[in-house]
């Protein structure tokens, strides 16, 4: 039977066949051409020019985790977009931030969100946080062919683990390798600088407000030294996207809240351009 979700005819047999609760599995059986990983890329010479998203940072605090990203997308040495959004809720208790080829990454997030939602609706229960992290791993791995041609997607996944009652962070590499990060993590071109910044500022007893300030500081430091990462744009009122996940769920800081954090960081930097200093010994 021809699979055609557009027609209003009866549901094709595949829709009524009991099987996996995974939407990706369903797609791969039913309409494999719709899966991003199944697309064949013609052989190309050199790197494909496409907008790239840059720095994502995350930090845990007692009771939750914050995940934040800058707003810049670059294409070569050009700024492709100033206000791109790279941090998305994955479901009620987790979020994903993406670095790498923006177009593919946004599609991957869309599919990932749907995968979690689909499972939840079919099974009537949510996946465990580990389970979600593993699904994302599989999806990155399916993109390996593209990654080899320079179109990599490297996300950062953060969520509140309802079983262990704490915030957790997972980082990935292009092959889908997944590792849990303790305390803080960063991905993308500015991640080296962001990680250095957080290394000196992070403490494991931060409050939620301190944790949001910490990630904004780290993004500022990344933008300071990495040309592909955007700093707070006061003139256009474009500030980093900061999200907080606690047992109450996912919350994105409103524009006003985010601008307040970014402005207070910026004000201190006017006096001390390199930011807060850690003790020498």
């Amino acid at each position: 039977m021809e699979a055609n979700p557009r027609s209003t005819g009866r549901l094709p047999a595949a829709f009524l066949t009991p099987g996996s609760s995974s939407f990706v599995d369903f797609l791969s059986e039913h309409q494999p051409e719709m899966l991003p990983g199944n697309r064949q890329l013609p052989p190309v010479k050199g790197v494909i020019e496409a907008p790239h998203g840059t720095t994502i940072v995350a930090a845990t605090f007692p009771g939750g985790v914050v995940l934040a990203g800058d707003r810049r997308a670059t294409m070569g040495n050009m700024i492709a977009q100033r206000d791109i959004e790279k941090v998305f809720p994955a479901d009620e208790h987790s979020a994903v931030g993406i670095a790498g080829t923006a177009g593919l990454a946004v599609e991957m997030v869309k599919l990932f969100q749907l995968e979690l939602e689909h499972f939840e609706k079919v099974e009537g229960a949510t996946l465990s946080l580990e389970g979600k992290a593993n699904r994302l791993s599989t999806m990155i791995r399916s993109n390996l062919g593209m990654a080899m041609q320079g179109l990599a997607v490297v996300p950062l996944f953060a969520g509140y683990d309802l079983d262990r009652e704490k915030g957790r962070i997972f980082s990935y590499d292009v092959t889908g390798g997944r590792s849990e990060e303790q305390g803080y993590a960063a991905t993308g071109s500015g991640s080296i600088f962001a990680r250095g910044s957080m290394k000196k500022l992070y403490k494991d007893d931060l409050t939620e407000e301190q944790a949001t300030t910490l990630v904004v500081q780290a993004l500022y430091d990344a933008a300071d030294d990495d040309s592909a990462t955007g700093g707070p744009d006061v003139a256009r009122r474009i500030y980093p996207i900061v999200t907080v996940i606690t047992d109450e769920g996912f919350r994105r800081l409103s524009d006003d809240e985010a601008s307040e954090v970014a402005r207070s960081v910026l004000e201190r930097r006017l006096e001390q351009p390199d930011g807060p200093r850690a003790a020498l010994l």
Binding site: T8, G9, R10, L11, F15, L16, E117, K121
Partner: protein, 251 residues
């Protein structure tokens, strides 16, 4: 060797319809009602695991009476249909009308195909709108027809009696507590005219709440919240729908 004897098409369809109707009537009834902030699903369900109501998409809910494995199949088919459509186009392009059409076609084809046994299910597909006027409720009987319902609908068990009870008493703009109370009263009526008590733990309740800030409007009401709503009948609902309370008072 037996010769297949002639059965008129009318007789064959009537037999199949009779078969499906009997199967549906064996199950317990469930009701779907509009209230001020959305649509509420109420049914008697002793099982915690096998749901009669579930979420299909952001604004769309599903209710079914009849044979569990058959409606569960249709439910999952619906979730797959909605998710695929939303993924292909946009979340706004998934509508209850489209889904109801697909269900109707599916049930209709199965009903009239001699090779398949008719499904013993009756479905309700509901979509909550931005305003009460935008709410849509479709009832899908076993034979593939679609009935566009307003206000309240009952399926399964002695649904006809419950429907007429609800039709007389349901009003637009009821509070959730009042709508829930009315639903429970309707469900507790026995076919022989008597009444029986349905304890809160045997009730399955879910809402499509348009005031929910999340994109997904479907929510199950369980435990303490359900108990609170069941208790809060008179006082809480009086201001919003005094007329309906008066009517219930006369019962």
């Amino acid at each position: 060797m037996s010769t297949p004897f002639y059965v008129s098409p009318q007789q064959a369809m009537a037999d199949r319809a009779e078969y499906a109707r009997k199967g549906i009537a064996r199950g317990r009834s469930l009701v779907v009602l509009q209230y001020a902030d959305g649509i509420v699903f109420v049914g008697e369900n002793p099982s915690r695991a096998l749901h009669k109501f579930s979420e299909i998409y952001d604004r769309i809910g599903f209710a079914a009476a009849g044979k569990y494995n058959e409606y569960e199949n249709l439910r999952i088919g619906g979730v797959r249909y909605a998710d695929l459509r939303g993924y292909t186009y946009d979340r706004d392009d998934v509508t209850a009308r489209g889904l109801a059409n697909v269900y109707a076609q599916t049930l209709g084809t199965i009903f009239s195909s001699a090779a398949e046994k008719p499904y013993e299910v009756e479905l309700v597909v509901a979509e909550v709108g931005e305003t009460p006027e935008g709410d849509q409720i479709y009832r899908l009987p076993h034979d593939g027809s679609i009935v566009d319902e307003h206000g309240s609908v009952a399926v399964g068990g002695n649904s006809e009696q419950i429907s007429s009870y609800l039709d007389q008493r349901h009003e637009d703009g009821m509070s959730l507590a009042a709508a829930l109370k009315l639903a429970v009263q309707a469900l507790s009526r026995e076919p022989n005219g008597g009444e029986r008590e349905i304890p809160a733990e045997r009730l399955e309740v879910a809402v499509l709440d348009r005031t929910r800030p999340q994109q997904r409007k479907f929510k199950r009401i369980v435990g303490r919240q359900l108990a609170r709503l069941l208790e809060a009948d008179g006082a809480a609902s009086a201001p919003t729908d005094a007329p309906s309370d008066e009517e219930e008072g006369e019962e």
